[in-house]
């Protein structure tokens, strides 16, 4: 993620982070408020277009989709069968006939499109925004203690992930991936995770001392200030806000967009 964020040169990379942040908030609200599947599909296509405009790899996006798809299915899979609607297909299970209903299928597709729209835009934001800009955004939007924890851990997330992956690779290279019973496997992974926590605490203590010796006074200095969004950035956010207002009005007050 940081590689693409720091080295990319696309139009999305050049976009003001405030504009991208505001658009993310609007995409989240649109995904939550919009009910029409066609409109949600349009939102999803728009986020895909945004991702592509950032010249980010599609293969990577498919990999990132595994988790949200898994979570949506975990929560909603039974609704495919239990949601009242016209049966599309049925199977007999333990002497009982269960059917996939059209409403159940529609529900799970809608939930998937909602989740993937937000994930796609969120990844686009994080993969096209440099750390220094992210630090500025976070320090301006979150309460200071939370911003400090966020920024400190943001820097060490990738390093820690690499460190743990290296240990797991080392275990695998020594035939540690062979199944030798649940107890032995559990004990081995507990050792890896325990060691990671011990290292993390030792590193945290060193970092704290280093920060204090450099005069840390509760707030990280910002090395780079962010300029205001451009006029085109304001225009883009304004358009998105208008779309959000229309969708909200249509859902809660009077239907403006159900004409198709």
């Amino acid at each position: 993620m940081t590689f693409y964020a720091e080295n990319g040169k696309s139009v999305v990379h050049r976009m003001n982070p405030w504009t991208k942040g505001a658009l993310l908030a609007i995409v989240i609200l649109m995904a939550v408020i919009t009910e029409d599947l066609v409109l949600l599909a349009a939102l999803y296509v728009a986020t895909l277009f945004f991702y592509a405009a950032g010249r980010l790899p599609v293969r990577l996006l498919a990999g990132w989709y595994a988790l949200p798809v898994f979570f949506v299915f975990t929560i909603a899979v039974l609704f495919i069968f239990t949601e009242p609607g016209d049966p599309l297909a049925s199977v007999e299970l333990l002497g009982k006939r269960i059917s996939i209903t059209d409403s159940g299928l529609l529900l799970i597709v809608t939930l998937l499109v909602r989740a993937l729209s937000v994930v796609t835009f969120s990844l686009s934001l994080f993969m096209t925004t440099r750390y220094s800009h992210m630090a500025h955004l976070v320090s301006k939007t979150l309460p200071r203690p939370l911003a400090n924890v966020f920024l400190l851990s943001y820097r060490f997330n990738f390093e820690t992930s690499d460190e743990i992956s290296d240990v797991v690779d080392a275990v695998h290279s020594r035939n540690g991936n062979m199944v030798r019973g649940a107890t032995k496997q559990t004990r081995m992974f507990a050792g890896i995770f325990g060691l990671s926590f011990v290292h993390a605490f030792e590193r945290a203590e060193r970092i704290a001392k280093a920060m204090e010796s450099r005069g840390f006074a509760g707030e990280f200095p910002r090395v780079e200030d962010l300029p205001r969004p451009s006029y085109s950035g304001y225009a883009l956010v304004s358009l998105a806000v208008v779309a959000l207002v229309i969708v909200t009005y249509s859902r809660y007050i009077s239907d403006l967009i159900g004409w198709w």
Binding site: I28, L111, A115, P145, T160, A182, F201, E205, E212
Partner: protein, 233 residues
């Protein structure tokens, strides 16, 4: 997974707002208990490293029972206490939302479930260690098992009363639909409980001082006054 994270769009905006407000209140209490804006640097760094390790560990699959992912939120509670642990799980949820491991709008609901895990993990472990003098493995195992069971039920209750957006089913039907998910989470939680038991035993051997938050500082009783006066080199 030991617990399920909700994705954006699962709840209506009213429920998203409600759970966000409740989570914000819990975080405000945690911040207040930590001293507001004057949290010591060491605590900040420890919370940040817990986030980094917690976030990294959930990406690793343990090859038992077909592959299990764990989050170790009760362990975070045992190591750093409920207040700092609450901040840590909130930030883990923010990072998770960035990559689709839970939604941005669902950070509130997901954090409430995780804060319950952190809080119960710490409280039960502390009680078992200090009042019952139970072993580290047993205390950590029990604390994690209970915390994850309660959090699975809590997640079930949150989803049932909020309702899945777009579904026409009521609270009871939604509850029934999600019972299998909760049962699977509780079963996986038992694996996480065993792992946490081993981790705490391991940490207790190599760095017992890291468990002082939950266990309290052990007093070394001097055998006689002569030994007490003599400095140990």
């Amino acid at each position: 997974m030991a617990h399920v994270h909700l994705e954006d769009g699962a709840f209506t905006i009213e429920w998203v707002a409600l759970w966000t407000l409740i989570a914000a209140a819990l975080i405000a209490v945690a911040l207040y208990r930590l001293g507001g804006y004057s949290i010591p640097t060491r605590k900040l760094a420890i919370a940040a490293m817990c986030v980094a390790v917690g976030f990294a560990i959930f990406q690793i699959e343990i090859p038992i029972f077909g592959g299990v992912h764990i989050n170790l939120t009760p362990l975070i509670g045992i190591l750093v206490g409920p207040s700092l642990g609450s901040l840590a799980v909130l930030v883990i949820n923010m990072f998770g939302a960035a990559i689709g491991h839970g939604g941005w709008g669902m950070i509130g609901a997901n954090s409430i479930v995780n804060i319950a895990e952190v809080f119960l993990g710490y409280l039960i472990y502390r009680h078992l260690r200090t009042s019952w003098n139970a072993s580290r493995f047993f205390s950590a195992f029990s604390a994690t098992a209970v915390a994850l069971t309660v959090s699975a039920v809590l997640a079930l209750v949150i989803i049932s009363i909020s309702g899945i957006q777009g579904s026409t089913q009521g609270e009871e039907e939604t509850f029934a639909n999600l019972l299998i998910m909760a049962a699977a989470n509780i079963a996986t939680g038992l694996v996480e409980a065993v792992v946490t038991g081993y981790i705490v035993s391991f940490i207790g051997k190599v760095r017992p001082d890291l468990l002082e938050t939950a266990e309290g500082q052990r007093k070394i009783e001097p055998t006689d006054s002569h030994q007490e006066a003599e400095p140990v080199v």
